[in-house]
């Protein structure tokens, strides 16, 4: 099964696992990206995420289709939080189930890489004395 969702609140790893697990697949890999308390040596108080929601969910579906084709498993969950993310909490969770471990782990790595490259979501780091919108490298799929 597939689950793709933007969530304005805490992410639930168990929900992602329930969406992908099943008795015919022996391997489940997950990745959680959590808000770190520093960046480049500067203390970070919290993160704020803004998403172009409709397009982001479209992007998640595309990643799901790519994973299904490349790693032969439809069992992918993508959860991404929007709004404020306190330090230590997850901003993104990926879960993939597959028959064997190599596909599960490779698909998980692929999905988070693609999400970071293509999903229209932006992170703002909030410091004691200000805030900065982070911008990724200018990679994107051909339009």
């Amino acid at each position: 099964m597939a689950l793709h969702r933007l969530v304005d609140g805490p992410l639930d790893l168990q929900e992602a696992l329930r969406a992908v697990a099943g008795p015919d697949r022996g391997a489940v890999a997950t990745f959680s990206g959590t808000a770190r308390d520093h960046h480049a040596g500067r203390p970070v108080l919290r993160l704020e995420y803004q998403a172009y929601a409709a397009m982001a969910e479209e992007t998640f579906r595309t990643i799901g289709a790519e994973v299904a084709e490349r790693f032969a498993t439809p069992h992918l969950a993508i959860l991404h939080r929007t709004g404020t993310v306190p330090i230590g909490e997850a901003s993104v969770i990926i879960a993939v189930a597959a028959p064997h471990r190599r596909e599960a782990l490779a698909a998980c790595a692929y999905a988070i890489d693609r999400l970071k490259e293509t999903a229209p979501i932006w992170k703002k780091e909030v410091y004691a004395d200000g805030a900065v919108w982070i911008e990724g490298p200018r990679a994107r799929p051909a339009g």
Partner: protein
């Protein structure tokens, strides 16, 4: 034709609003529409090469807009 351009992240903050409406000629490209946005919003004047989305998919700056599409412009993404 009237075109609404959705803005995100730094662009939205600079413009002080989530979207902007501009009047574009027939045959206008995304980049052409963006030039009008830059003229209308001085805080965006330095943003010459945004990323564009047309109907929720990435689109090239030279893409011609026919009206009715969902158009967005934004800086490089940083989700995850």
């Amino acid at each position: 034709m009237k075109i609404t351009v959705m803005l995100f992240a730094r662009y939205r903050e600079a413009a002080g609003r989530p979207a902007l409406e501009v009047e574009a000629p027939e045959g206008a490209t995304l980049q052409g529409i963006w030039e009008q946005v830059r003229t209308a919003v001085p805080a965006l004047a330095d943003e010459r090469r945004p990323l564009f989305a047309c109907d929720r998919a990435y689109a090239r700056p030279e893409r011609v807009v026919t009206g009715g599409e969902e158009i967005a412009a934004f800086p490089p993404v940083s989700g995850g």
